[in-house]
């Protein structure tokens, strides 16, 4: 299993080729993925691509569901809040 780093808000975290971005973030103790309309911090709810609570910007593209994206070496993830 290939292991590598991805970057969340500029910080490297451990990941592997079978992990989703959400999983890698949870393993790194990161719970906040986005900020809601009313300013609440949110993280994954359904973990299967339905709720859109785990949205992050990946490699410059916003609104990507972290639970549906598999980690890739050097991936840049930005959370909002």
């Amino acid at each position: 299993m290939k292991r590598f780093s991805i970057f969340v808000d500029g910080q490297p975290i451990d990941a592997d080729e079978a992990a989703t971005v959400a999983a890698a973030m949870w393993n790194a103790g990161l719970s906040h993925f986005r900020t809601s309309v009313a300013g609440e911090r949110r993280g994954p709810l359904c973990a299967m691509g339905i709720c859109f609570e785990c949205r992050v910007t990946i490699d410059g593209v916003p609104h990507r569901r972290a639970c549906m994206e598999t980690c890739a070496p050097g991936m840049r993830v930005e959370t909002h809040g």
Partner: protein, 427 residues
């Protein structure tokens, strides 16, 4: 930009029902194309991090699927379909790269999602669903040492608790809202299905030491930047359990978006099918949770029947209808046993968020409204989840039935709505 593929039979969903359908249809000689949004087949229940982690039944079916010759398009999310033989899916990557499929027969096996009900604190980070916990586990999350509380309703609570315990979690609470007599009747019914009873016993064994509490439900989650404790009650006394993760889900609801978009008749939240799994639309079949929540075994046999029917070989296996009847019986008992209690309707307070996409609180919703009215006035259901989370909750709280389904069935880049290909001038 769009690729084009043709198939005699297109199958949407590569969970057990879709895999069984595609395999049977391909083995019967049809040209079959399976489309699924995940990176690999298996749906939710057969998802696995490594092939050797998949349950034995899954491995056997997946091997048989590969041998059958059916094609699989991975990571493809269907955003539109017409009942006269077209569908459009978004392929992975951010460029709005689309796939257009022309099909002769269509089998929908898009499974189910969790039902979430709002309660104070449910939007705190680390409050997730029950199926969500298993999905995260399979996606690579380590639960080692995490204190976990599991609550809600349905037979998924047990395997989730067992899986999390096996993964090193400290399971502090397993709370089923259905009352003990209902659950006991259901469990007793499992005596008729020894395989399932064995499964249940194995689950209990794995987290021995933590009581499986019935007639108990979460009333609130508390925390700061994430959940720190959950408050639960049995209707008499309230208690608190410290937790790092709260898993709370109230059963499953079928993903009816595509069947509804295509005009398939539904009744009581299920797609109506005949004995060949055919819907009210000629050439469209449904199998699995779409026809009613019933678990893996029912999904498999419905998939097999649908696959054979779509391939024109309805009598290909005469043992199937009887198997389906037995499994359907289980499904019916499941629904009855885990009916949701009325107390769950009063958990949300006026300032509890009901629509998480748009942060619409309960106080902004008037129970006298209808669904579309509520959507227009409050914007509940107008976010990217397209009402998939708040919809079942609002149906439970107010009796509001879901709105009509429109294209795009899932959010998709605008470029994906512009379907004509750029053709180079070939003259």
């Amino acid at each position: 930009m769009a690729d084009r593929l043709d198939a005699q039979i297109a199958v949407v969903g590569a969970g057990p029902a879709g895999i069984a359908a595609a395999t049977r249809a391909a083995e019967a000689g049809s040209d079959v194309l399976v489309i699924d949004e995940a990176p690999g087949p298996g749906g939710q229940i057969w998802k696995h991090r490594r092939p050797e982690h998949a349950p034995r039944a899954a491995r056997k079916w997946l091997e048989r699927f590969v041998r059958s010759g059916a094609r699989l398009v991975r990571g493809a999310q269907v955003i539109a379909a017409t009942s006269d033989g077209e569908l459009r899916a978004e392929l992975p990557g951010a460029g709005g790269h689309m796939l257009d499929v022309r099909w002769g027969r269509l089998i929908l096996a898009t499974g189910a999602r969790e039902r979430f009900l709002p309660f104070p604190g449910w939007t705190l980070p680390n409050v997730i669903g029950v199926g969500a916990a298993q999905a995260l586990l399979k996606a690579g999350v380590s639960f080692q040492g995490r204190r976990v509380a599991i609550a809600g309703s349905g037979p998924l609570l047990l395997p989730a608790a067992a899986a999390l315990a096996a993964g090193g979690a400290r399971v502090g609470l397993v709370a089923e809202q259905a009352p003990f007599p209902s659950v006991a009747r259901f469990a007793g019914g499992l005596l008729r299905q020894p395989g399932k009873l064995l499964q249940a016993a194995m689950y209990r064994g794995r987290f021995a030491g933590t009581r499986y509490r019935t007639g108990t439900w979460i009333t609130s989650a508390r925390g700061d930047d994430r959940v720190r404790e959950a408050v639960y009650t049995d209707g008499n006394r309230s208690r608190t359990v410290a937790c790092d993760v709260l898993c709370c889900g109230y059963g499953l609801v079928p993903n009816l978006d595509l069947p509804m978009l295509l005009g398939c008749a539904t009744s009581a939240g299920k797609v109506v099918v005949d004995e060949r799994q055919q819907t009210s639309q000629d050439s469209i079949y449904c199998a699995g949770e779409l026809t009613g929540i019933g678990g893996v075994d029912l999904a498999l046999v419905e998939g097999e029947i649908a696959g054979l029917a779509a391939a024109g070989k309805s009598h290909g296996d005469r043992s199937l209808p009887a198997r389906r009847s037995r499994q359907a019986e289980f499904a019916a008992r499941l629904e009855a046993a885990f009916a949701l209690r009325d107390e769950l309707k009063s958990l949300a307070r006026p300032d509890t968020i009901v629509c998480r996409c748009e942060d619409v609180i309960l106080a902004r919703l008037d129970p006298r409204w209808r669904r579309r009215q509520a959507k227009l006035y409050s914007r509940a259901g107008m976010g990217p989840c397209q009402g998939r989370v708040c919809g079942p909750a609002l149906e439970f709280l107010f009796g509001w039935e879901s709105d009509t389904v429109r294209v795009p069935v899932r959010p998709t880049p605008l470029a994906g709505l512009a379907h004509k290909e750029e053709r180079a001038d070939t003259t």
